[in-house]
């Protein structure tokens, strides 16, 4: 039995009919074709599927889609401004070499955003803690940490 949910997605109101068992990741990728959110493990362990829910990170692969009713969801597609400029975090990731294969990148960028929104001047330890739930196999994290430092003016 399908049910209707309403929520704000990347600043726009969305009304969508879904099967109640869907995960938020399935809703985003399969129903709404927002493929920027990645599935790395499907078990909430790698962080590739990270999105923001009312400003906090969630692993969308294990998050029930029904629970976003009335809430604000931000995915990687919602980060650029209306003119198509990269968000400062995205820009820093590009400039600091924080991207290799890129599969972890959308989730990593959103974890960085949640961190910096709450704590605009994080210490290196806080940065490392803030992205510890996002696994990356290519970069060794160093240039990601440098990118986040750069955005916070450090």
């Amino acid at each position: 039995m399908k049910q209707t949910i309403n929520f704000t997605l990347n600043g726009e109101l969305v009304e969508v009919e879904i099967e109640p068992h869907l995960t938020l990741l399935q809703l985003l990728r399969d129903k709404l074709e927002l493929i920027g959110t990645k599935e790395g493990c499907g078990m909430g362990e790698c962080g590739a599927c990270t999105v923001l829910l009312d400003g906090k990170t969630v692993n969308s692969c294990i998050f029930p889609a029904m629970e976003v009713e009335g809430k604000k969801v931000v995915t990687i597609e919602g980060l650029m401004d209306a003119q198509g400029n990269l968000h400062p975090i995205q820009k820093a990731f590009v400039e600091q070499g924080a991207v290799q294969c890129g599969f972890c990148t959308p989730g990593m960028v959103l974890s960085a955003k949640a961190l910096l929104d709450e704590n605009p001047k994080p210490t290196e330890e806080e940065i490392r803690h803030g992205i510890a739930g996002n696994l990356c196999r290519c970069t060794g994290y160093i240039q990601i940490i440098e990118a986040i430092k750069a955005v916070s003016g450090q």
Partner: protein, 764 residues
């Protein structure tokens, strides 16, 4: 020193914007109208006879379009030994053996269909230890496989890896000190963040297109063309189109059952079929790094000069033979040529077991061999009473050397690397305290100028320039995230006097791009770079020829800088590149500027004795670490990490650092935390909770030292850097642990339990 505009600069990766915005299309994101989803049924037993398979219920499930088993597919064989089939008939030999496959309209239906397939097995005894598997009377994995002089059935592969140089026995007699040890290394896996997958599709004429994430597009095309022939489609074409690749690290250097299954399902259903692995499948059904048992002896003189190196090795091949069975050929490189060692013997056996079969992984055997060699260098140094730093310096390789394997060393910055690491770590002061803190170092040699593993080590490049000066580069190379497209663009832009943003690199399609042997052996910057540079030079010649007329200057007096062709004699005589191109194009009998170049390095296949100059040049490096060992818990903490690499020339220092950071991080995992745990062939930890990859909280702040030796054969002096970053990590850490607390751990990973156990043993 020549002043470069594009080379040597920290230029962001060309695909980074696509990736940070989520617009990049990976295999998981690809949808084709009418596309079906494929799922694979694996064997629940590591060794068993298939008595019967009943697929009738699965076939009747609404939405199921095809069910295949080993009994109704054409005779496709694949793998280095051609001992593997897409779906198994008669017998299964490991828990990743594919028994049946389904294509359905959605993934849920495909999964439900798998549950409806009934397979009856007769369980056979299995063998999971290569030493057990070598014994008389051990269960045979492949009954038809024979070996030895008597051609008897055996689990030992017919790949007699044997390298002999000088006289090891004589050298042993004449050595003042001899160390003998057994080291063990186990399975670790690539953990690409994007799981494996492909989409296969046939056109109306039965030509095949596979959307793939391969590191070897040209070889994959050849494998698939052979598969088409086996399917009765001889003469039909195979085209490989790469999507964005979510990590490689060697995992995509072979073709795999799932790809052939997708092809067979697509042929059967006449629809595109997509197969994408779950994370669990990625852990148990892809091929990890080879485990090995390494018996090693090395000797030296009183003065600390190496006399010999003698190694016997047993590798667990698993149930099937991929290219991974050739890793001993790469292990020969550090064994014969890491430090100067005049007498060398190396004998290795690969043995079939009922475990998962291994494959290529970054370093391709080198990390395993280097762990044993450079751990034992410290053991031997201690026996000889020499500081390990001095011991390494005394035996360090030098330019112009010819090693026992006949490698011709061109540029070699090993001494500089060792010195730089020692200086950074304040070696003389930090070492030898045994107070819970300690320092250690280890070095590496790796191919840095291609590697002639196949008959050709080449790469082709095609360049065309349009009316506006946009340079399209079609390369055989594969960018899997390491940034080869960007490096190639920098090289072409430098040669042509344009900017990186004028260059568009295409590497994704075998119908468009020239041949290349693949993204392996850290060869892309060197081989694809030289190829791109060669094509750019040919294009530049054409441009100067054309411009000579309008500028009225002879071509040899012209050059291009910042999109402008100018006279070197009179810089006022100049013309914008686009104008020259348009004039040439629109003139009567006009011309387009295009060029191609195939670069095949002047290196050698190994001969029957496994000797020969495998690479045009070699990369060197040294890693040094300072650790703190908690004597109560056995926990090892890395306090400092210094990585010095002789890279020839850094084309893009930012991407290069990324390779070193990423490599060393994988190396620390190999040394301390990562292990694919197999029990009776079953992967017990197929998830990121139980398989311990490093997180952002675990990595040290690496200090990178780039030693530029400007190799005479490299593009702008560059050598390879893809793999070296993880090669010396494990022995450097093991040596530091020894320096800190006096225990020597000889099997990886060095877990707190092992350290604690060794400390307790030592205290007895």
């Amino acid at each position: 020193m020549e002043e470069f505009i594009n080379v040597g600069k920290r230029i962001p990766k060309m695909d980074a914007e696509e990736k940070v915005t989520g617009k990049a299309i990976y295999i998981h994101d690809l949808k084709i109208p009418g596309m079906l989803h494929g799922k694979i049924l694996y064997s629940p037993h590591p060794h068993a006879k298939i008595k019967s398979i009943d697929t009738s219920k699965a076939e009747k499930l609404p939405g199921v379009k095809a069910v295949l088993t080993g009994y109704n597919i054409p005779p496709i064989k694949f793998g280095f030994y051609k001992d593997n089939t897409p779906l198994k008939a008669n017998k299964v030999c490991s828990l990743r053996d594919e028994v049946a496959a389904v294509a359905a309209t959605d993934l849920d239906i495909a999964e439900e269909a798998l549950d409806l397939i009934k397979v009856e097995y007769e369980i056979l005894p299995g063998v999971f230890d290569p030493e057990e598997a070598m014994k008389e009377g051990a269960p045979l994995i492949h009954e038809e496989h024979v070996g030895g002089k008597e051609k008897k059935p055996t689990n030992v592969l017919n790949l007699p890896w044997r390298l002999i140089a000088g006289d090891v026995e004589e050298a042993r007699k004449n050595s003042a000190f001899v160390a003998e040890d057994r080291f063990k290394v186990t399975w670790v896996t690539h953990c690409c963040m994007g799981t494996s997958g492909c989409v296969a599709q046939f056109d109306l004429k039965n030509n095949l297109t596979v959307y793939s994430i391969t590191q070897i597009p040209s070889l994959e095309q050849r494998d698939f063309t052979e598969a088409l022939a086996a399917m009765g489609l001889k003469g039909k074409k195979a085209r490989v189109i790469k999507t964005m690749i979510g990590g490689g690290f060697g995992s995509k250097l072979d073709t795999y059952a799932f790809e052939y299954i997708a092809i067979l399902l697509a042929f059967k259903t006449r629809k595109p079929v997509k197969i994408v692995f779950s994370r669990e499948e990625e852990f148990f059904a892809t091929s990890p790094r080879q485990p090995a048992i390494i018996d090693i002896a090395q000797g030296c003189t009183k003065e600390g000069i190496l006399t010999f190196r003698d190694i016997r090795m047993i590798l667990d091949n698993g149930a099937y033979t991929s290219w991974g069975a050739t890793t001993p050929s790469v292990m020969m490189m550090p064994i014969s040529s890491l430090y100067k060692v005049p007498n060398v013997r190396y004998i290795a056996k690969c043995v079939y077991t009922n475990n998962t079969y291994s494959q290529a992984m970054r370093g391709y055997g080198n990390p395993q061999a280097t762990f044993a060699i450079d751990s034992q260098m410290d053991i031997l140094a201690e026996m000889a009473g020499i500081d390990p730093l001095d011991f390494r310096l005394r035996n360090a390789n030098t330019p112009g050397e010819v090693t026992p394997q006949n490698f011709k060393i061109v540029s070699c910055g090993l001494r500089e690397c060792i010195d730089a690491v020692a200086q950074k770590l304040d070696w003389r002061q930090s070492r030898g305290k045994r107070d819970g803190r300690g320092v250690g170092m280890a070095s590496l040699i790796h191919v840095g100028g291609g590697a002639r593993v196949y008959k050709s080590d080449g790469c082709g490049t095609i360049i065309k320039i349009d009316d506006f000066g946009t340079v399209n580069v079609f390369t055989g190379a594969t960018d899997m995230g390491q940034g080869s497209d960007t490096v190639i663009a920098q090289i072409v832009a430098e040669e042509l006097g344009v900017r990186v943003e004028d260059v568009v690199v295409t590497h994704t399609d075998t119908d468009i791009c020239p041949w290349d042997v693949g993204a392996h052996a850290s060869r892309t910057t060197f081989v694809a770079g030289n190829s791109a540079r060669g094509a750019a030079k040919k294009v530049k010649e054409q441009l100067l020829e054309i411009a000579a007329k309008s500028i009225s200057e002879s071509p040899e007096n012209l050059d291009i800088r910042d999109r402008t062709i100018y006279s070197k004699k009179d810089p006022e005589k100049k013309s914008p590149l686009g104008k020259v191109l348009r004039a040439a194009h629109y003139a009567a009998g006009g011309s387009m500027v295009m060029g191609e170049y195939f670069y095949d390095p002047n290196n050698e296949n190994l001969d029957r004795e496994f000797k020969g100059n495998l690479s045009v040049t070699y990369a060197y490096g040294t890693h040094g670490v300072e650790v703190e060992v908690d004597k109560e818990t056995g926990q090892v903490k890395i306090l400092r990490y210094v990585a010095a690499h002789d890279v020839g020339k850094a084309i893009n220092p930012m991407l290069l650092e990324g390779q070193v950071y990423g490599g060393a991080t994988q190396g620390i995992g190999y040394a301390l935390t990562e292990r694919l745990i197999l029990q009776n062939g079953k992967v017990m930890n197929p998830n990121f909770l139980d398989y311990k990859m490093l997180t952002a909280k675990d990595v040290p702040n690496f200090e990178t030292i780039v030693v530029e030796t400007n190799d005479e054969f490299g593009p702008f002096g560059a050598k390879g850097i893809g793999e070296p970053g993880l090669v010396p990590t494990a022995p450097a850490i093991a040596n530091a642990i020894y320096d800190a607390v006096g225990v020597r751990i000889k099997d990886l990973p060095i877990t707190p339990e092992k350290v604690l156990g060794a400390l307790k043993e030592k205290a007895k």
